[in-house]
């Protein structure tokens, strides 16, 4: 089973040279720490920056420079700044290559729910609906099951959804799975020490298993 850092490390393996990437809040933010330094990638912050750098040192802190999680950040050489409409034009126009975000539920059709829980205080969808509606490639970082043990990989989402038919790949604490265009979760890899049977039990939606399922290789 993977912890959050393990999920982030595994997702980092999906990053390819030359990609522009938007990272959501939570586990996705951690992915940045594990992208191989030999790859040239650019991180987009939807509040108006291409080229997010590391967190600032005490003296570098600038209140005019934050990421979408409102954290203080720095800029890489070659960064650019722009307005929110330009930023979402970039996202909506399909210019961002990869979006990595968290989810509360994913359906076997690739629907995602990650913004609202009935009965709980609604904070708003922020940029999530725009991102999932337009991203060329979406990877979801999530726990396979709730704390109560209920599967979050479902036939249909039970929570209000954020977007339909958009998730392409899921990395959980148990497995890596593709969402097939025709529907269904295709098991690609098992987390270290996790059996196919455990994954099968933890997946409520249609699970497709073909041949031997390799264990993930993390360094």
């Amino acid at each position: 089973m993977l912890d959050k850092i393990g999920i982030a490390k595994r997702i980092a393996q999906e990053v390819k040279d030359g990609m522009y990437i938007n990272l959501g809040i939570g586990i996705p933010t951690l992915v940045a720490n594990y992208i191989p330094t030999k790859l040239n990638v650019v991180l987009q912050s939807e509040n108006g920056l291409l080229g997010i750098g590391p967190f600032p040192t005490e003296v570098e802190v600038d209140p005019d420079l934050i990421n979408a999680g409102k954290q203080t950040i720095t800029m890489m050489p070659g960064s650019s700044l722009f307005s929110s409409s330009e930023s979402f034009g970039m996202i909506r126009g399909g210019h961002v290559d990869l979006t990595i975000l968290g989810a509360m539920e994913v359906s076997e059709q690739g629907d995602i729910a990650n913004w609202k829980v009935p009965g709980k205080m609604v904070k708003g969808m922020g940029g999530a609906m725009d991102l999932v509606a337009s991203a060329k490639h979406i990877i979801v970082a999530m726990q396979h099951c709730s704390k109560e043990g209920a599967s979050k990989l479902l036939t249909q989402c039970t929570l209000p959804i954020t977007g339909i038919k958009c998730v392409k790949k899921i990395v959980t604490d148990l497995a890596v799975l593709d969402v097939l265009p025709s529907g269904g979760f295709k098991l690609l890899e098992r987390a270290p020490g996790v059996s196919v049977e455990e994954i099968r039990k933890a997946t409520a939606g249609k699970l497709m298993i073909e041949g031997e399922i390799p264990e993930m290789v993390l360094d």
Binding site: D64, Q71, S84, M121
Partner: protein, 231 residues
């Protein structure tokens, strides 16, 4: 050029009346019109409809206007950092309209640019789509969304000149340029009011035509929500 300088925030917001629709620039607490918010607190105007990406925190930004019950309705994409907000919402004192962030940005941009409606994919198949026209283009579904305009837009820039030309700084730009264009009356507060001709015309983010009033703000606090430091 046309001189739009007013002496201070109080003068700038003097005619914002009860029940006005007001846009506030900023993302979180970054790039918000601090001086104008203070002036509204002092003016006591009430029943405001606030269009702003966020709702501030309990004791800063729009959160201050919530505390004094000056706000009737908020139109935002994310309002998560505010306990008083939550209380008023649950008690029914406050109306909230939640809009996907990119749709919010584009609706405001459309308001300023005279585009009454446009199609966007964000929210298709979700509750955001309820009551909206859905249409297919090139094999993909889109929602029809309408422009947003406001009686007043309150924006914050880094530098500005007397004719209302503005330059923002860093990610404090965010919603400010679109709001500047979408306000019937746009009020710009700037950290530094510079002499006409000092700003490079090629670097101006908001041309002065969109700005009706401008003043140099005072005592910017620029509060940081998440001070994240690398060792």
């Amino acid at each position: 050029m046309i001189n739009k300088v007013v002496s201070n925030a109080q003068e700038a917001v003097h005619d914002i009346q009860d029940n006005a629709v007001v846009m506030f620039g900023g993302f979180g607490l970054c790039g918000i019109p601090e001086n104008c918010i203070q002036a509204l607190l002092r003016s006591g105007v009430s029943g405001l409809t606030c269009i702003s990406n966020n709702a501030g925190v309990d004791d800063f930004g729009i959160g201050l206007l919530l505390k004094t019950r000056q706000v009737k309705k908020i139109i935002s994409s994310y309002v998560g950092e505010n306990a008083e907000f939550e209380r008023q919402l649950l008690s029914g004192e406050l109306e909230v309209d939640l809009i996907p962030q990119g749709t919010l940005a584009e609706r405001i941009r459309a308001g300023g640019a005279g585009i009454p409606a446009f199609f966007t994919p964000a929210g298709v198949g979700t509750e955001v789509a309820e009551g909206k026209e859905v249409r297919e283009f090139h094999g993909k579904l889109y929602l029809l969304e309408q422009w947003l305009r406001a009686d007043f837009a309150l924006v914050k820039a880094w530098k500005g000149d007397s004719s209302g030309n503005l330059i923002y700084r860093g990610t404090a730009r965010n919603f400010n340029p679109m709001m500047a264009a979408a306000g019937k009356i746009t009020i710009a507060e700037v950290e530094e009011l510079v002499p006409l001709g000092e700003l490079d015309p090629n670097h101006i983010h908001t041309p002065g035509i969109y700005v009706q009033r401008i003043f140099q703000g005072q005592q910017y606090e620029k509060r940081i929500e998440q001070r994240t430091i690398r060792k």
